[in-house]
């Protein structure tokens, strides 16, 4: 994990949460379309399950701490998004990745509703979570069509590309 990737991740987390609160949330109300979840899915679809889980857990925990429900709910949910999308990462087309992100985020939205109902969070309603699953999926798909190409472009740049394990050339002294 390079310093550039850590800094980029922090900036992405901050931007996604601000845009979600200031624009996406008010525009799409009452449908709970989630830009941070789509971002986690896009990162995982590009970089694999390791980056996806770490990014999903981090952004989920920060979102939890900034909300009224118990911390850990979104962290667990978006950890799952990063894990599942990371396993499905296979250099697919943008549309296929957007569809994958939309389906996984919609399922994660229902899962989050279930956990919130289980912990008796204020305003949690499993029926609404299930009813809104399809609109959430459509909204996330539209977001993903914009977010996936952007994330791919960023993560392909030389400064943010995931470091691969290097081959160590043995340069030991010759015998004899």
């Amino acid at each position: 994990m390079t310093r550039a990737r850590v800094a980029a991740a922090l900036c992405a987390i901050l931007t996604a949460l601000l845009l979600q609160g200031a624009l996406i949330g008010p525009w799409t109300m009452p449908v709970p379309v989630s830009l941070p979840a789509v971002l986690v899915a896009a990162v995982a679809l590009m970089d694999g399950p390791g980056s996806g889980m770490a990014f999903g857990f981090s952004i989920g925990l920060i979102a939890d701490l900034g909300s009224d429900h118990p911390a850990g709910v979104l962290a667990l949910s978006w950890l799952g998004v990063g894990l599942v999308c990371g396993l499905a990462a296979d250099r697919n087309s943008v549309r296929r990745d957007a569809a994958t992100a939309a389906v996984v985020c919609a399922v994660a939205s229902v899962f989050t509703g279930l956990v919130l109902v289980a912990v008796h969070a204020d305003g949690a309603d499993l029926r609404h979570s299930v009813e809104w699953a399809l609109p959430v999926g459509l909204g996330d798909a539209l977001l993903a069509l914009a977010v996936v190409p952007a994330v791919r472009a960023f993560l392909r740049s030389s400064s943010l590309r995931a470091p691969h394990p290097g081959f160590e050339l043995s340069t030991g002294a010759r015998r004899g």
Partner: protein, 287 residues
């Protein structure tokens, strides 16, 4: 489909367990309350800071779906607003009229005379005088020439001419108007003359009368004035002493330029005399 390495599997389990711990900790006793408030405060500041940029964009997009219907609502609200402003102005005018009528009523009770309320319809020159007012009451209402007109506080003037349903009042401010008055402090009697917009002047009959600034004047006692006695005329604001005696400048109680609802005191007065025919024998030189 990728597969998880052992490290990734371990990391997934650890992070899931950590998330469950956080949930339990937060549900159990508010151990993360400080963290919650810190992050909320930080994001609150950031939201406020970005709202100046993102707010207009958000509100524009939110307003697009209802833009057409909003126009009709705006027009309807504008119309309602104008109607309500009209009602408010009318209510204000009616309150003022009610207060003026209450004053006239109080004066009628105090003086034990009948007062006919009237509305001033015009103020201007007429009948050879500069300061007159037209009222919407006349002989059909019991109004007679010479009767005093008041606004409930003070003297307005006297009826100069009365038709069936309207009358003309000579205002006290007219330069040709003369009102028998009494200084309420010294009880001295004098004459108040109108000076148009400059107010009134008071000349006591007794040249040695000591008129002072602040003295209040009222219409004179019966016999000395054709007006109903006791109506406030004004207050002395300046006194000049000359060889002929004192002359005082008087600020009138009633402003002649702000008359609205007044009352004609139905006391005294006379009908207007009709025209008399010309005697033909006088014209013909006694034929």
């Amino acid at each position: 489909m990728r597969r998880l390495t052992r490290r990734q599997r371990t990391a997934a389990i650890v992070l899931a367990a950590l998330a469950m711990c956080f949930i339990t900790l937060d549900l159990g006793g508010g151990g993360l309350a400080g963290a919650h408030s810190g992050v909320r405060g930080a994001f609150g500041s950031l939201y406020r800071g970005t709202d100046s940029v993102l707010g207009p964009v958000r509100r524009f997009v939110q307003g697009v779906p209802t833009a057409g219907s909003n126009e009709a609502t705006i027009q309807k609200l504008r119309h309602e607003n104008e109607t309500l402003r009209g009602h408010l102005a009318q209510a204000t005018s009616e309150h003022r009229t009610a207060r003026e009528l209450a004053r006239l009523h109080a004066l009628a009770d105090t003086g034990r005379y009948k007062i006919m309320p009237a509305t001033v319809q015009a103020v201007g020159s007429g009948g050879g005088f500069d300061w007159t007012a037209s009222l919407d009451v006349g002989t059909a209402d019991g109004v007679l020439v010479g009767q005093s007109v008041t606004d409930g506080y003070g003297l307005v003037g006297r009826v100069l001419h009365a038709d069936s349903y309207s009358c003309v009042v000579l205002l006290a401010a007219d330069t040709s108007s003369g009102v028998g008055a009494r200084d309420l402090r010294t009880r001295q009697i004098g004459l108040v003359s109108g000076k148009g917009t400059s107010g009134l002047s008071f000349a006591p009959l007794n040249p040695n009368a000591a008129v002072r600034v602040g003295d209040k004047l009222a219409t004179g006692p019966a016999g000395t004035s054709s007006y109903v006695p006791g109506l406030s005329i004004g207050t002395v604001t300046a006194v000049t002493r000359g060889p002929q005696g004192s002359t005082a400048v008087v600020r009138p109680t009633v402003s002649p330029t702000s008359l609205d609802t007044v009352g004609v005191i139905l006391l005294g007065g006379h009908r207007e005399s009709g025209r008399t025919p010309i005697d033909p024998s006088a014209l013909a030189g006694g034929r």
